[in-house]
Amino acid sequence: MTPGLRVENLESVYNKAITAISGVSLEVPAGRIVALMGVNGSGKSTTLNAIGGLLRGDAQAITAGSVHFDDERIDGLPPHEVVRRGVVLVPEREKIFETLTVAENLQASVVPPTVAPTAHKQRLAEVYELFPALMERKRTVAGFLSGGQRQMLAMARVLLCHPRLLLVDEMTLGLAPLVIADLLGRLCHMRTSLGVSVLLVEQNVAAALEVADYGYIMEKGRIVFHGTPDKLLAHDDVREFYLGLGEAGARSYRDVKQYRRTHRW
């Protein structure tokens, strides 16, 4: 009965043929940053889209399991209803409206009806304070922004939905290490100043574990390992396969495949 997000035994099958995720259970307690990590195609984004209500239609669907947010069941709701409950997703790609200006992008967010106009104005000011680069470029067409600024815009826009839980998909993709550090710093800042919890999907394990309070590692659609960052960073297999810090020296790709086949965590 803890507030926050609770995902239980989630399963999703694409085209009624390909199991994308199965038996995924995770928790994001209120006010925490939780990282969901894994290699390409391990099912991280599918999990995130399932929580955000974006797995709809015949081709993609949640086939089993449940998603609760603050003890309210939110799987099966359309995406705008999920957003209204405070769970907002930042998509991996195609996130900004390129032909609109920065200010227009920020106006596109739907404000929940429970939020007073004054509170929204204050939030807008806070967001501009958090991302001064956007304030300077208010009238710029968003298609002219750089990659890092686009990511900032996507985050800022999502904050204007007054989220209580952010689902962030691959925030660091294609960004320079310094920009990543900057964005992750802002994420931590948002958590404390605006009181949002975050579920962070990342391939960049080292960067993600720096800010996260807890981490889950996915492989082939299942969660194979989870724990606090200290525990994960100390784990041999995490060091070996996700951080490239194995003591046994560099192994060949064939070794890794063989290892994975025999040794499933």
Binding site: G52, L54, P78, E94, F97, E98, A103, S109, R137
Partner: protein, 353 residues
């Protein structure tokens, strides 16, 4: 030109979203409107008639722009929606001799109901599939109209008496001009206000990226249906006005070419721009008359005069291609450039913000 935004700083978000960018803008728009209102006092009846047709076309083009330019859903059923309005008037007047203040609202309501039915497939269909479903709606409406015409009006069209309110009859090009001008201004204001409200912002977001829009809490399907409902309601009004203005309703007037013409209007004018729709409607309506005059004035071969329709269509096609290739943002963009030139003179471009 003092419509320049410089010197006017926005101090509140409300003023940032205001209808008029600066007080000067309002001044110039009112001056422009006053000039437009004096037009019938020095133009001859023929050209007033042309402009009247353009005004009706503007309402239709503004409506199409809402769904295609703003929401990004290509609608190929526009001629059908115009026919809905015309035939609503035709049936109500022809069968029951209803007055104009019943038929026009009825046309809007019927149009909106049709829009609801056409919009519902958009819950499941996207892109070209949705366009084909609107095309199907067009053929459905067109065949219904033809059927009605052959059963109930002996194959010919329906004659519509001029609109009458009390003892006052709307007739004469000049009176029509003011009636249609005021309706066009109302339609323009409706579009402008929709576009700066949350509805317009949701439409733009859906046009750009519907997935991201959904992730931001926009109810994509209901806003799409809303775009269709409002658009077909307005289109149907344009069709009803067309019926009254031409005093005649006939299914043959709403060929698929009409749809293409309306698409041409919003493309040539500039997709997603209210000003563009107005300019495009004006341009496309006047163009055939201009071509006709040009062919008469200049010593073209006689075959040009005898095949006027072919010449008009050919030039029309060339113009469309030219706009698509060289000015995809249309007349609105050209106007924007002219304005920017005078605003910024003697500089050539804006500094980076």
């Amino acid at each position: 030109m003092t419509t320049n935004a410089s010197g006017f700083f926005k101090t509140s978000y409300a003023s940032d979203l205001g209808l008029w960018e600066t007080p000067w803008r309002r001044f110039w728009v009112l001056v422009g409107l006053a000039l437009v209102a004096t037009f019938p006092f020095f133009a001859n009846t023929f050209w007033i008639g042309v402009i009247n047709l353009a005004a009706i076309a503007s309402i239709g083009a503004l409506a199409l722009n809402l769904v295609t330019g703003y929401t990004g859903q290509l609608s190929l059923g526009h001629a059908g929606f115009l026919a809905v309005g015309s035939f609503t008037v035709g049936i109500l007047v022809g069968q029951w001799s209803m007055p104009v203040w019943v038929t026009l609202p009825a046309a809007i309501v019927v149009g909106m109901v049709v829009g609801l039915f056409v919009g519902v497939p958009s819950l499941r269909l996207r892109g070209i599939y949705l366009s084909i479903s609107t095309l199907a709606a067009y053929f459905f409406i067109a065949s219904l109209a033809t059927e009605y015409q052959s059963r109930f009006s002996g194959g010919a069209g329906i004659l519509i008496p001029p609109p009458q309110i009390g003892s006052w009859v709307l007739s004469g090009e000049r009176n029509w001009y003011f009636a249609l001008l005021s309706l066009t201004v109302l339609a323009t204001l409706l579009c402008l206000n929709l576009n700066r409200s949350h509805i317009g912002r949701a439409w733009l977001a859906i046009r750009e990226r519907d997935l991201a829009a959904a992730a931001l809490g926009i109810d994509v399907s209901s806003y799409k249906v809303m775009a269709f409902v409002i658009s077909t309601g307005m289109t149907s009004l344009a069709g009803a006005l067309l019926a009254y203005y031409t005093a005649f309703v006939s299914a043959e007037a709403f060929t698929f070419f009409v749809t293409i013409e309306y698409l041409a209007m919003i493309l040539i004018g500039g997709l997603g721009s209210v000003l563009g729709s107005l300019l495009g409607a004006l341009f496309v309506t006047i163009l055939p008359f201009l071509i006709e005059r040009a062919v008469e004035q200049f010593p073209f071969p006689a075959t040009f005069k005898t095949n006027m329709f072919a010449v008009q269509n050919g030039l029309f096609a060339i113009l469309m291609l030219g706009f698509l290739m060289f000015e995809p943002l249309g007349l609105a963009r050209i106007w924007g450039r002219i304005r920017a030139y005078f605003e910024l003179w003697p500089f050539r471009y804006r500094p980076l913000p």
